[in-house]
């Protein structure tokens, strides 16, 4: 009989990440990567006190964790699956560890940082 796949674990994280990316990333990239660096809006938007204040509250901590960690899972899952699309069929376990490991690291590190802030 066919063996049950563990794919639902990473697929759930991929799906949650995809939703977060679709609903936040265009705005986040515009603000942090274009509008503030080019001076289209006031530099106060990303001032240290403001961001430190955000990371101080529980809602802010959760928000920062969500916008960093879940997109990484989304990205890792897609890139891992794309390897096969491009004919890279060997080393599946190795690549799983590399990509999902990176996403796990990108979840635990901000979690650790945010709890300490």
């Amino acid at each position: 009989m066919s063996k049950r796949s563990n794919e639902p674990i990473v697929w759930s994280l991929f799906g949650a990440g995809g939703v977060v990316v679709a609903h936040t990333m265009p705005v986040l990239i515009f603000v942090t990567g274009i509008a503030v660096p080019l001076g289209l809006v006031s530099a106060d938007v990303l001032a240290y006190e403001r961001l430190a204040g955000l990371a101080d509250g529980w809602f802010g901590k959760l928000f920062l964790l969500v916008i960093i960690s879940l997109p990484l899972w989304q990205s890792a899952h897609r890139i891992f699956l794309s390897l096969h699309d491009f004919g890279i069929t060997g080393g599946e376990t190795f690549f799983r560890v590399v990509f999902y490991g990176a996403a796990l690291w990108g979840t635990l590190l901000p979690l650790f940082l945010l709890v300490g802030m």
């Binding site: 990316v21 679709a22 990567g33 960093i68 890139i79 802030m117």
Partner: protein, 130 residues
Amino acid sequence: MSTRKPYVRPMAGWWLKNPVYVRYILRESTAVFVGIYAVILLVGLLRLSSGEAAWNNWLIAMQSPGAILFHVVAMGAAVYHSVTWFSVAPKVMPPLMFNGEKVPVAKIVAGQYIFAGIIYLVLLGLILWG
């Protein structure tokens, strides 16, 4: 004796052979920009946790021409991700029922655009004036 000799065609370069496949690979490629941007945010969080001077260095790094160019491309990728995400979502969600009738796919997609538009505006408002 069987003279069967089925010929299996190679898959090499398959994704260039049909515009649908090219758009699919383009959609999947947005993940590279999403991943890099998430790492940039993660580095920002690291800097933020190290104090004001480190955070300001991150802000200065974001002003380099290379960083701006990356973010312009990444924003395009993020928008493409959003558009493709909303268009396939009705295939993943169970059919939406209203008064015993299936809601048409076009209406579900339009509804997602309206919802996402509201989220974008709220998010932008909170970031700029919150």
